[in-house]
């Protein structure tokens, strides 16, 4: 029973770790992701747009299957989790072998290996030592660090480069997992929202994208915000001067622009929009007494502000309509877009004990502007602006970025760093007693380029052998003398 269970476990492991499983899972991801781009997706598309695009019946089916929000559906996230499991399993399954290969390099080729290896070459040498020396010199010349390997009574030379390349694929897989991990952390603990601030306003309430609210432990104040335009009127730059307010003190200030956010306590504030909020900052006007018996004065008012024009006359900015319509002598608010603005002012005269309505623009069917003791002329209307900030908290993004960097490194190793190994062994023919130098090499990728490299090495060894042959007699003399 136990062995049965173990057999099943083993089989299950083999299935999970197999490349087929990984490939099938990846194909599923591809198909479902493609489906998610063809069918309209919920958070990005407005509800009424969805309703006009699909029939109610169809929409119900799509909604119940989660196809209108594929990328947040449990089955899609589950699939990504399965992909991670498959990557981990496949890596664990294959890693020990690679590690053995990596940690215990094969330095002395035995006979069967020597027979099978391609490319290989044999050069005639006069004696064992000269072969070894020539091999070492040639390898040094090509920038390798050759190693003399001793096996019982045999000598060999081993040199390699970029052994790391053998483990590169694990780096890539690990980096992918790191990225997945980062996004998972963000999915669970991260949030994204929106904050709209009028100039001068302070707030710590963030509208989260799912409709809920989040209160920050600190507040953000927008001091000023603005827009710069190109000559053709399209926006060139939006900026806002923000201050972080914590327990009544300004702890940080920054002028943010698009692409340059403010970061405080892991929360980022991005400039995302800018515009008029339909509210008046200041209405500037000129007032002249109707009877012509006084100087012209200039006054600027915000809504609900009043100013005195003379000792017993005041003017109050009563109402503002960004977009108005008149019906039956009444002024209505048509929309909050700054399309067709109207301002309502009230001039009060204590002497006459009366108030007079003044409208900009003049609306004879609502009120007669000329009845007021002062003639008012609007000269300028300054609207106040809001700045739109995207707010996000992504605690996992460090995982994502380090994963990306790691993947870059890993891919570089996978594709461009080749593990090259060379072996050279002086071999004595048992029949003739003649020495020859066996040279072999292998590379884990890019074999055709390696072959060229190998041929260069062989040529270089030949050169060194020739040089040695010329100088050999003298060297022998020194050795003898040394003895």
């Amino acid at each position: 029973m136990a062995s049965n269970f173990r057999a099943f476990g083993h089989k299950l492991w083999r299935t999970i770790a197999s490349i087929q499983t990984g490939v099938v899972l990846l194909i599923l991801v591809v198909i479902l992701a493609a489906v998610g781009t063809v069918i309209l997706q919920r958070p990005a598309t407005e509800a009424d747009e969805m309703q006009s695009a699909y029939s109610p019946h169809m929409l119900r089916i799509l909604d119940s299957l989660g196809l209108t929000d594929v990328f947040h559906a449990w089955w899609f996230l589950g699939l990504l989790a399965l992909v991670s499991v498959s990557i981990i399993a496949a890596s664990i399954d294959r890693f020990p072998n690679s590690w053995r290969y990596f940690s215990r390099p094969y330095k002395y080729p035995d006979e069967s290996f020597r027979r099978a290896l391609r490319p290989q070459k044999s050069l005639a040498i006069t004696d064992e030592e000269s072969g070894l020396v020539a091999a070492e010199r040639a390898l040094h010349g090509m920038g390798y660090k050759p190693e003399r390997v001793v096996r019982e009574d045999h000598f060999g030379i081993f040199a390699e480069r970029h052994r790391m390349s053998e483990l590169a694929v694990y780096i890539v897989h690990a980096s992918l997992l790191l990225i997945f991990f980062g996004t998972m952390v963000d999915g669970i603990w991260g949030w994204r929202g929106y904050l709209s601030l009028n100039e001068g306003q302070t707030s710590n309430q963030i509208e989260i994208h799912d409709g809920s609210k989040r209160t920050l432990p600190f507040a953000i104040r927008c001091d000023t915000a603005g827009q710069e335009n190109y000559q053709d009127g399209t926006p060139k730059k939006w900026w806002s001067k923000l201050a972080v307010v914590e327990s009544g003190r300004d702890v940080k200030t920054k002028e943010i622009v698009v692409n340059d956010p403010l970061l405080y306590n892991g929360v980022r504030f991005y400039q995302s929009s800018y515009g008029s909020n339909g509210k008046v900052n200041k209405l500037t006007m000129e007032a002249t007494p109707s009877n012509g018996s006084g100087p012209k004065q200039s006054i600027a008012l915000a809504v609900n502000e009043s100013a005195s024009l003379d000792a017993d006359t005041t003017v109050r900015f009563a109402e503002f309509f960004p977009d108005f319509a008149v019906r039956n002598g009444e002024v209505y608010l048509k929309s909050n877009q700054l399309e067709n603005p109207a301002a309502h002012l009230v001039v009060t005269s204590k002497a006459a004990g009366k108030s007079f309505d003044v409208w900009f623009p003049a609306m004879p069917e609502v009120a007669d502007n000329s009845k007021a003791p002062y003639l008012l002329q609007a000269t300028d209307l300054k609207m106040s602006h809001y700045t739109g900030l995207q707010v996000s908290h992504e605690p996992g993004q460090w995982g994502v970025w380090s994963g990306v960097v790691l993947m870059g490194v890993g891919l570089t190793f996978v594709f461009y760093v080749v593990h090259m190994r060379f072996w050279m062994v002086p071999v004595r023919d048992p029949r003739t007693g003649m020495w020859s130098l066996w040279i072999g090499g292998t590379a884990n990728r890019n074999r055709d380029a390696f072959e060229q490299r190998f041929n260069e090495l062989v040529e270089s060894v030949e050169e060194e052998l020739k040089l040695l042959a010329k100088t050999a007699p003298r060297e022998q003399v020194t050795t003898i003398a040394g003895n």
């Binding site: 060139k236 956010p261 594709f415």
Partner: protein
Amino acid sequence: MARAKAEPQQQPSTGMTLIVLVGLAITFLLLMALLNVAKSGNILGEENLLFAALIFYSGAGALYLGFGVTGTESYVKFASLATWLGLAANTAAIAHRWYESGHAPFSSVYEMLLSFVWTLAVLTLVAEKKYDVKVIGTVTMPVAIVGVVLMQLLRTEVHPLVPALQSTWLHVHVTLAMLAYAACALSFALALMFLIQDNLKTETVLAVTSASTVGVYASIVLTRFERGALNLVAWNPESKSEVFISRGVRLFVVVPDLGWLMMLTLLVVGSPLVFYGLARWKKNDSFLTLANRAVFLSILLQVMTLVMFLVRARDGRYPSLDADGLFPTNLAASPFILSGLVGGVFMSLLYLLLLWRRPDLSRLLPSSDNLDRITYKTICLAFPLLTLMIASGAYWANQTWGSYWSWDPKETWAAITWLVYALYLHMRITRGWRGRRAAYFAIGGFAVVMFTFFGVTYLLPGLHAYA
């Protein structure tokens, strides 16, 4: 330029006539180009530079094709020279635009195409010089030509960048994307070459090319046919943009008779496929001879349709079903129909090239093993570039919108492309996929790239607007 290529095709008999014809066609093209450039005073304007690039690339394409057809080795030298000259003009156009706008030319589809074509030309020369794949230009140059033609049609004014696009990361992102896509295009061309060297049956190529052209015409007829006329998007010459009735809904004009012509061409283009089916079904090869004749006929008709389309849709005012009055249209309003038509002609011509010159091609191309390896190498180049492209895009998005990944269609399709090539690499490295299966995979991968590049921009929002 279609004509220049059609001439050598129509005479399968080799010999001097052919060489003279190709030579004449190219001289004619070059002369026309020079006249055109000289006519407008500003010789080094961007338009002229692009036009020069187009001419040189076309010349290169014709010469590569001529080389494929006649096997005259000296053509290659001139083809390379023409590619170099085209590349020089292309580079100058990019530099000119860069200088004029003050930012690297990567902010619009037009500017991206500019860089894409440039990279493709560079890679073609590299493949030719380094890996000795001489005929690669027959596939890549037509792609480049379609690219430049599209560029001539798309709006070319330098636009100021909206705030979100003013980022170095965007430039990094788009440069990487173009490099990656060009590498993918090259791997596609190499995979095609491999299939030829791997003795893919000529009939199969016939079936595939015919099916593709049928696909082009069928989609045109299905979406735009209106009682014998052809629906085209109206074009506003002042604002240089399409005319919209309401948000996302374009105004269509009807161009009379063009619909029937498209229908007729669809039938003729489909006939080789029918004959191929008959040949397979009845096991009778004489139908294949008929099919080849039908391809020949279809090329003539396709060229005619293209010319008619060019003449009628270039400018002119046509009535609309949705609004009163006459509205202008322009080639720029229908870039996909135009590239479909040009692409169809190229595909059919490539088939004829294969049909008539297969032994020569086989002799000239590197061995199938080599092509297989070079295809793999190109993908090894494309894959890290794709990775970096996605990473830099995510970084840019994070800087701008506070989110590195939001599953928008472009992002999703970039990820799909990445996954497809990742699958290719896994199949190749761990399963030992070589040869034909790997080549099909490379071709499929490039199809996904094209969809990511064009399809997502033009088809998916369109789908969303009309659905």
